[in-house]
Subunit: 163 residues, 2 copies
DNA sequence: CCTAAACAATTGACTTCATCAACTATTGAG
DNA sequence: CTCAATAGTTGATGAAGTCAATTGTTTAGG
């Protein structure tokens, strides 16, 4: 029971008087404060993402791919861009997922160089089960009062909309 | 410029009438709505964490370890628990970081089985540079009005405090 | 005390993820 | 037609992950 260190203390030290080069009012840098806490929450929650994927016999990256593949066919190169990784990496990744019957490669008709990835029926079904688990909110969120949840939702909509 | 797919549409479909087994009021499940948006924002931002770590010649996991190691010495097994991975994995991880002079192993005096990890001076300096980058808030956050940032900070404090 | 279970770290075999360099096939521009 | 650019694959290599087995070191029971 020694988990949950009080790392907030460590972070607040960045706002010590006279430290910041520019902004930093009397109580420090507000965007950074909010972001740091947000990061803390997400980081804690993401620690068990590999275990969550493993429950469905997926590696973390395969789970990530399955999630991205919901909007419809996707070129391998586009997937590589989404994953911010090399195209050659995607080849092996898709090899394994295709061998398990989750996706298929379909040659594009407009451009015979590109291969489009399509979810199989099994892949789509597994994706639904995955999303169900991914978007299950953690206790820290469920425990918030309704007004906080509404405010949070609205703030996030503004943040995502205005970028 | 085809990034930022409108995957919100996909997610909202989960609240279609008659689907949920339990809660789901007229406008759906509020915690899930808030969480889904939060997840979207964080996920988008986290995509370039590997690149951020690479700027400091760190792998993503090494960056993660460096971040965890700020509170003081840590047993290898404790680190394995933090990382949610096997202890044997930590051996190689620490081998590489020790070879680069970021950490050292110190045998514990109370229990000669355990080895404590301690940041070197170089390791601590690199950690500061890393944290500076990690906690730099993204544009989506910086663009929010001050009242939203205050509300967000306070909500996150409640969420993290009450778990 | 002495033996046996439990634990911390390591090693070795193996898989997946990731990069880079080289290659093939295809497209598109001049 | 030729040449540069692009999409995907292959091969070599290394990091990160798992599991099974091993070595020291505590700790608990008889």
């Amino acid at each position: 029971m020694r988990g949950m260190n009080g790392s907030g203390e460590q972070l607040e030290r960045k706002t010590k008087p006279g430290s910041g080069p520019g902004q930093a009012g009397p109580e420090g840098d507000l965007p950074r404060q909010a972001w740091t806490l947000l990061f803390e929450l997400m980081h804690t929650h993401m620690r068990n993402f590999p275990a969550l994927a493993a429950e469905l016999d997926l590696s973390p990256v395969q789970a990530h791919v399955l999630r991205q593949l919901g909007e419809g066919p996707l070129a391998m190169s586009t997937l590589a861009a989404y994953l911010s990784c090399d195209a050659s990496n995607v080849t092996g990744l898709v090899d394994r997922m295709e061998a398990r019957g989750l996706v298929v490669r379909r040659s594009s008709e407009q451009d015979r160089r590109v291969k489009m990835l399509v979810l199989t029926e099994d892949g789509a079904a597994l994706r639904e089960r995955l999303l169900e688990r991914i978007f299950e909110p953690p206790d820290a969120i469920c425990g918030l009062p309704e007004e906080d949840l509404c405010a949070l939702r609205d703030i996030m909509r503004r943040a995502l909309g205005a970028q």
